[in-house]
Homo-oligomer: 363 residues x 2
């Protein structure tokens, strides 16, 4: 097991990553929060709970109160939040209660948001079960839900007390989700970690084959990058923006396909393809670097094809949350291992990049 420290102005906490953490979860949580409160809630999904509920509960003297969120973005809504808050209240939840978010990114975002607003805030712990959630969404305190108009438009910054990333749980993850999640590690490498890029180029088969050592290496490197960035910029005023590489176009694709066709990581893969294209035409990466990074993304593919008109994707970029005062922000890689944010991507550049990406993505 490895421990990675996150240190923000509002909270300091550890991310624990390793195999088999789930069996001893209760004592591990107690070491962080002290005595467990009268009401411990676990937000999860039925499929995860069917696979791992027994193991999860085994270390608790009194089993936590399970709350369920059906899988899928379409349940990541204010209506679900309203229902779950009321369930918590009826089950005797109070200001001293603890929330555990046990599932993928959606469960983590909703569980964190419930903790942020129930009785104006209770503590919570993240126990992410997907690769994506382990390396990305469980760290950093971003919580929230979607509106009809777009993803993650509502939420809070509310840091967890700890994150427990049990790599063993990834054993039951569908390979498509694993590959999609690995896009966050590719992103981490591109923006911040040259050696992770090389490692992922050279070890794709053991990573996709879930060799425990290879997975742990990629996960720990990815979490380290995320923890470092979050520690330096908790509220995404500057540096943290670079974590959004591939997200401007990625979110637009998700929205244009009504969140029904792609996993988040797959949308980010296509979004990175678009961003890399702009970076190469602007010269912040060379043609050789462009080729190498594009090849790396496809190494963890193939990703679902897209039948979209460019205009639809472009229009959808207008609703992105990262836009302030009407400016369209874009994260572009600078060489391999660095990135920056630009605000002057022209409509023509955006269109060319979207066309280039859709050409590769066509069925």
């Amino acid at each position: 097991m490895q421990t990675i420290r996150v240190d923000t102005p509002t909270a300091k906490y550890d991310v624990f990553a390793g195999s088999g953490l789930l069996q001893s979860l209760a004592p591990r949580i107690q070491r962080v929060v002290g005595r467990l409160p009268r009401r411990v809630f676990v937000l999860t999904s039925e499929p995860i709970w069917a696979l791992w509920g027994q193991v999860f509960s085994s270390s608790f003297a009194e089993p936590p109160i399970a709350l369920f969120l059906p899988p899928g973005e379409k349940h990541k809504t204010m209506a679900s939040v309203d229902r779950l808050l009321r369930e918590m209240l009826r089950a005797g939840g109070d200001r001293g209660s603890l929330m555990i978010a046990f599932g993928g990114g959606i469960v983590g975002d909703v569980g964190g948001f419930l903790a942020a607003i129930f009785m104006r805030g209770i503590p919570y712990v993240q126990v992410p079960t997907t690769f994506l959630a382990q390396v990305d969404s469980s760290v950093g305190g971003k919580t929230g839900v979607n509106l009809h108009e777009g993803k993650n438009l509502v939420g809070s910054f509310h840091q967890p007390r700890a994150v427990f990333a049990d790599i063993a749980v990834l054993g039951t993850l569908p390979v498509r989700e694993l590959k999609a999640g690995l896009m966050e590690s590719v992103k981490a490498g591109i923006i911040r970690d040259r050696s992770l890029v090389r490692y992922m180029e050279e070890n794709a088969s053991s990573i996709i084959g879930r060799d425990a050592r290879a997975l742990e290496k990629v996960i720990v490197a990815s979490i380290r990058m995320k923890a470092e960035v979050v520690s330096r910029d908790e509220r995404e005023s500057g540096l943290r923006m670079i974590l959004n590489l591939g997200h401007t176009v990625g979110h637009a694709i998700e929205q244009a396909t009504a969140y029904k066709v792609l996993l988040h990581g797959e949308a980010v893969a296509w979004g990175m393809i678009a961003a890399l294209y702009i970076a190469r035409t602007r010269g912040t990466i060379t043609a050789a670097q462009h080729q190498r990074l594009e090849r790396l993304i496809h190494l963890y593919g193939p990703f679902p094809a897209l039948k979209l008109r460019p205009a639809k994707v472009i229009a959808a970029t207008g609703a992105d949350k990262k836009n302030i005062g009407g400016v369209r922000r874009f994260v572009l890689p600078v060489g391999i291992g660095d990135a920056g944010v630009v605000e002057d991507v022209s409509p023509a550049e955006l269109e060319a990049a979207v066309r280039y990406m859709l050409e590769q993505a066509k069925p």
Copy 2:
């Protein structure tokens, strides 16, 4: 105009209290937040906007985008929040937008909560229009909505950038609301400010008659008390609890009457009557002090009568948010000008106090 500083770990801001602030609101806000952003939202209610919308907008180069919340607790819901968030988004709101909450306590709580969660948090300003909101709810950063199961069970701590309490606006406030609001000042006096108690005893007619000097004196003293307590205990872990004098039973009455019979301040009045009774039987106030404080409360009455069974009120105290781990917390005055929190009020004591209060409150 007087300026009262609030200084919490997460934010420092000023409360400005005086007559005629509304005419020059835009430059006043600019002095606090810098240049106004592209989208300025104002959450308000139709009746307030009909009376004061013109004056409110007059100082803005571009009028703010008005969002409306119908009056009444029954609209202080997650459903309203969902609708308003979507309106903000469709009107072009982004992370740089500013929210102004212009109305009573409900508008302030909902406006603050919208600001807390829209795009994971935007800045906001409070412009309270009721006495209650000016002296209490606009200061301290508590935001949120009700659940079906009880009041203010969902929300955030999100401090405003500034509060502008324009005493002139109280000129259109119904007298019933004024009197209900004055209960917060009575409460402020009882728990923290002997001289405010005396002032309110001696000047009831000029206060109820809205003599500007008398009102400003009461409002400024009340805000000072609130600001001091909030500055020392932002998240209600200790000291801030004493602000809940009268609230344990008060909330229970509101819930038992489905929020339809009493204004919040009226419920707090009856709740204080119950709390004073317990304090006297325990000896934390003398019989003479009890009589004097009860007389003060009634001086600003009469309050609507209650036809409630004691058991219903007692049951409703169980759902109070201030309970942690099943303990029923009670704020009790200690003499005049001080208060403490106790956790050992027995069912028998509670019942006796509720019966005593309901006897006075019967039709």
